[in-house]
């Protein structure tokens, strides 16, 4: 697996799709944040970007930001910006397990521990 996490040169400028922004408009979005469309059938405005349409379609059911990014073959940072815009527009709901900047609390750690032990 030694080649699996190496570097590769790539001549792409992903921030074109985010109008130059490298940070999402809200900081609740992390790679594991769960996303789901709030109203998948309602069409997006004609001004919506290709990436916004693709992400909303991808999130017609529950999926994390990182998974959506991987399936769309886009960087997580780019999809975070697009997702954040869609959350602001009321089209995506975001679910985070722990409050921003806080470590997981005892209750959730116990749930994780019990869950892992059950898998054994």
């Amino acid at each position: 697996m030694s080649d699996d996490d190496g570097y590769r040169d790539r001549a792409v400028r992903p921030y074109v799709v985010t109008a130059g922004r490298a940070r999402p408009s809200r900081n609740i979005i992390r790679p594991e944040t769960l996303l789901v469309a709030t109203d998948g059938d309602r069409p997006l405005p004609v001004s919506a970007s290709r990436e916004e349409r693709a992400l909303l379609r991808m999130c017609r059911r529950l999926l994390s930001l990182a998974e959506a990014a991987a399936h769309l073959d886009l960087p997580v940072s780019v999809v975070a910006v697009v997702a954040s815009d869609l959350v602001d527009a009321g089209r995506l709901a975001a679910r985070s397990g722990t409050p921003v900047t806080a470590a997981p609390d005892r209750k959730i750690l116990e749930e994780v521990l019990n869950g892992l032990r059950r898998l054994k």
Binding site: M1, S2, D3, D4, D5, G6, Y7, R8, D9, R10, A11, V12, P14, R23, P24, N27, I29, R30, P31, E32, T33, L34, V36, R61, L62, L63, S64, A66, E67, A69, A70, H71, P75, V76, S77, A80, R95, S96, G97, T98, P99, V100, T101, A102, A103, P104, D105, R106, I108, L109, E110, E111, V112, L113, G115, L116, R117, R118, L119, K120
Partner: protein, 196 residues
């Protein structure tokens, strides 16, 4: 793009608490192997590009040049209850890369450091970074057993890696699901013990 089985990729709608563990380590230590051995999905990959002035081994006769490199993050997923899903993010060990994925370390249960004893020195930077990490991300060490690895005792390795006394360390076979689960359980127990 929409394959016949793409519906399998989604989570049950009851899930509302995503949690994560970082699987970190030097290149080629078996992070993705470990993730794949416990993940319910085939590990996925995302990539970020970063522009950096090259230094060190990339330098040609002291000439600095800007390069755009791609840093990959492989990850897997375990749904561990009606409400909880655990993501395992494999990230390059050097913390300067974590900034590529906004919020990657924030809110994590902890970091599992995968170590290859044949290249022990490659893990030093990772461990240094974690020990000084300002938010005190809990971490534990998993010694990945490769077929040609000589066996070293845990105490010997603890000393060689200069670990703090409280840092848990375990031998594991990253290809083996039970073994990888044991390492994740050890880390989670450690995080819980620090959570007072």
């Amino acid at each position: 793009m929409a394959s016949a089985d793409s519906s399998d990729r989604y989570l049950p709608s009851t899930v509302r608490k995503p949690v994560k563990i970082l699987v970190v380590g030097a290149f080629g230590v078996g992070k993705t192997t470990l993730i794949g051995s416990v993940s319910e999905i085939v590990p996925l990959r995302t990539e970020e590009t970063m522009t950096a002035v090259s230094a060190g081994v990339d330098d040609l006769a002291g000439l600095e040049h800007k390069t755009t490199t791609t840093v990959a993050m492989d990850f897997g997923r375990i749904t561990i209850g009606e409400e909880v899903v655990l993501y395992l993010f494999g990230a390059p060990g050097q913390r300067r890369f974590w900034g590529l994925w906004d919020g990657l370390a924030d809110g994590a249960v902890g970091a599992l450091v995968v170590v290859d004893t044949r290249r022990l020195e490659n893990s030093f930077e990772v461990l240094d970074q974690l020990e000084v990490y300002k938010q005190g991300l809990p971490f534990a060490v998993a010694i990945n057993r490769f077929p040609d690895t000589l066996h070293h005792g845990r105490d010997e390795l603890r000393q060689a890696l200069d670990l703090l006394p409280e840092t848990p360390i375990v031998h594991c076979d990253a290809r083996d699901r039970q073994s990888s689960l044991d390492a994740l359980i050890m880390l989670t127990e450690h995080s819980l013990s620090r959570c007072e």
